[in-house]
């Protein structure tokens, strides 16, 4: 009975995760996008914790803790600090036609659900339907990276992509070995630092974080 409720709760969290990705897709303000990213991390940590509890896999507790520290506290704090330093706190991104993006998003979700249907037949235990949601989140994060024009939001989209992959891993296979997870976490952290340096470089060269300016680099 307990594991039944646990699986229902994980399903709910997965649905909320998808909702947060959609919210990020529709978000114009960069600052709210970072906050949504923090929420996504929190959902991820809670769902990992529940999977750990219901399957009694101890190493998942560590990865839940790692997610909490890294993705809910450290990375959003880093991004906030970057925003402050770059002085782009109140920037609003001009997006092309949010409703169209959302419709494309819905199409992606249907595609992902169909794609995942045969895979989830093979999956074990409590988290069968979740592969589809995780796959949909991955595709939506990719879409987010495509539609964004500011470097900061593209990085947030990249981090959301990593979150979705992490969710896919915990839901499908009860997590990767702890060493791998530590490695990925470190990678993401280092990537964020490097992106931060990139932001400053991009801004110094182009006076803006809008990556469409980069097209000037090409030879004519």
């Amino acid at each position: 009975m307990a594991s039944n409720y646990a699986s229902q709760f994980v399903n709910l969290l997965a649905a909320l995760l998808l909702l947060v990705v959609f919210a990020m897709l529709a978000q114009r303000r960069i600052l709210s996008m970072i906050n949504l990213f923090a929420w996504q991390g929190l959902l991820l940590a809670v769902s990992t914790f529940i999977v750990a509890y219901s399957t009694a896999q101890h190493h998942l507790y560590y990865s839940a803790g790692l997610t909490l520290v890294l993705k809910v506290l450290l990375l959003p704090w880093l991004l906030h600090r970057l925003m402050r330093k770059l002085n782009v706190r109140w920037d609003v991104e001009t997006l092309i036609n949010i409703p169209t993006t959302m419709l494309v998003g819905i199409a992606l979700v249907i595609f992902a659900f169909n794609l995942a249907a045969p895979i989830s037949q093979l999956a074990e235990g409590i988290t069968r339907g979740l592969i589809g949601i995780a796959l949909a989140s991955v595709l939506l994060s990719l879409l987010m990276m495509l539609t964004r024009r500011k470097a900061v939001t593209q990085v947030v989209a990249f981090l959301a992509l990593e979150n979705s992959l992490f969710f896919a891993a915990t839901s499908a296979t009860h997590g990767m070995p702890l060493v791998v997870e530590f490695g990925i976490a470190l990678d993401v952290l280092v990537a964020t630092f490097i992106f931060g340096i990139f932001f400053f470089q991009i801004r110094e060269t182009f006076d803006s974080l809008d990556i469409t300016h980069m097209e000037k680099l090409k030879d004519d």
């Binding site: 229902q8 399903n11 649905a15 909702l19 959609f22 949010i98 419709l103 819905i106 979700v109 659900f113």
Partner: protein, 320 residues
């Protein structure tokens, strides 16, 4: 118990609900306004203010435009009747009322639509600029809100395999407790539709005096006295019906069965608690958000539709 007495009990329950709803609807509006006043650091007019307004309006003489057609006179009664009928269909105090089997959720959406068509026609009937402006905007908003509402209702119907409201409520209230992620999406979409359909703040401002931003108020500018009172009362009823529909779809736990008089006080008490919470939540939502431009409304309502569709998809994927 013979079938005959059961039937009489059912009718009695239905009448109780009808009376309760029509009398309590202004109270809910008053409560929402009072909560808003508190949140804005005003003392407010008290929860009974809508009754005072209705009393005042019913004792005035009606002024009707010279070129008004009979449609204009009939509309307040039609709108009031539609809203009362809607409130009769929704299981508010008990499941399986005799009226609620008469119409399913799709018919319920139709009842709301009839009221909307008549009030828009009446607004255009007089031929003032503001009337037709309001009517057009109302039609824009509602034509976007209606599909979203239908998708929300379909999500709920999928879970219980029925479009009959009593069956939907019964599945949620009297069976084993299950978490439905799809309903979380549907609930969010429903809140957006509720705000749009009841002329609440992000889409319309119910207390505005600036004609250019009005939607609902612009349509009823020409009404006075008892006609205006009926329309105001119908608006309260509509808000009540929508909130009760939300309660019935998403948190019907504790609702009474027909013929169970002992369960009735508890059901009404729980209902009051839920309504108070919902009203306070509505006031909070309205206080923290600003009215958006009319051209942003399609995006806002598009989000509702999207959420409802996502709910349906997730229902298919997870099977709950």
């Amino acid at each position: 118990m013979t079938e005959n007495t059961e039937f009489i009990f059912a009718i009695l329950f239905q009448l109780t609900q009808l009376l309760l709803v029509v009398l309590a609807a202004p109270l809910l509006s008053g409560w929402v306004n009072q909560c808003q006043a508190w949140l804005q650091n005003r003392s407010g007019a008290g929860v009974l203010q809508p009754y005072r307004v209705l009393h005042k309006l019913f004792h005035k003489d009606a002024v009707i435009a010279y070129n008004a057609s009979p449609l204009f006179r009939a509309t307040p009664y039609i709108v009031f009747g539609c809203m009362w009928l809607a409130a009769a269909i929704i299981p508010i105090i008990a499941v399986d009322l005799p009226f609620s089997r008469a119409a399913d959720v799709i018919a319920l959406v139709g009842v709301f639509a009839v009221a909307r068509v008549f009030i828009s026609l009446a607004a255009m009937d007089i031929g003032t600029a503001f009337g037709s402006l309001g009517a057009r905007r109302e039609m824009l908003v509602s034509f976007l809100a209606e599909p979203a509402l239908l998708m929300v209702l379909f999500t709920a119907s999928m879970i219980s395999h029925s479009t009959q409201l009593p069956t939907i409520v019964d599945t949620l209230a009297h069976h084993q407790f299950v978490i439905y992620p799809s309903l979380a999406f549907a609930a969010l979409a429903f809140v957006i539709v509720l705000l749009a359909e009841n002329a609440r703040i992000p889409v319309d401002n119910p207390s505005t005096h600036l004609e250019l931003t009005m939607i609902h108020e612009a349509m009823i500018l020409e009404y006075s006295a008892r006609h205006l009172a009926l329309i105001e009362w119908a608006s309260s009823l509509k808000l009540f019906a929508y909130i009760s529909l939300g309660i019935a779809l998403f948190t019907p736990h504790g609702i009474a069965e027909v013929g169970n008089w002992a369960g009735l006080p508890l059901a009404i008490g729980l209902l009051l608690l839920k309504l108070m919470l919902a009203g306070a939540g509505l006031a909070l939502l309205e206080t923290v958000s600003a009215k958006m431009r009319i051209f942003r409304a399609p995006e806002f309502l598009g989000t509702a539709f999207l959420l409802a569709v996502l709910g349906l998809l997730i229902h298919f994927l997870l099977g709950v």
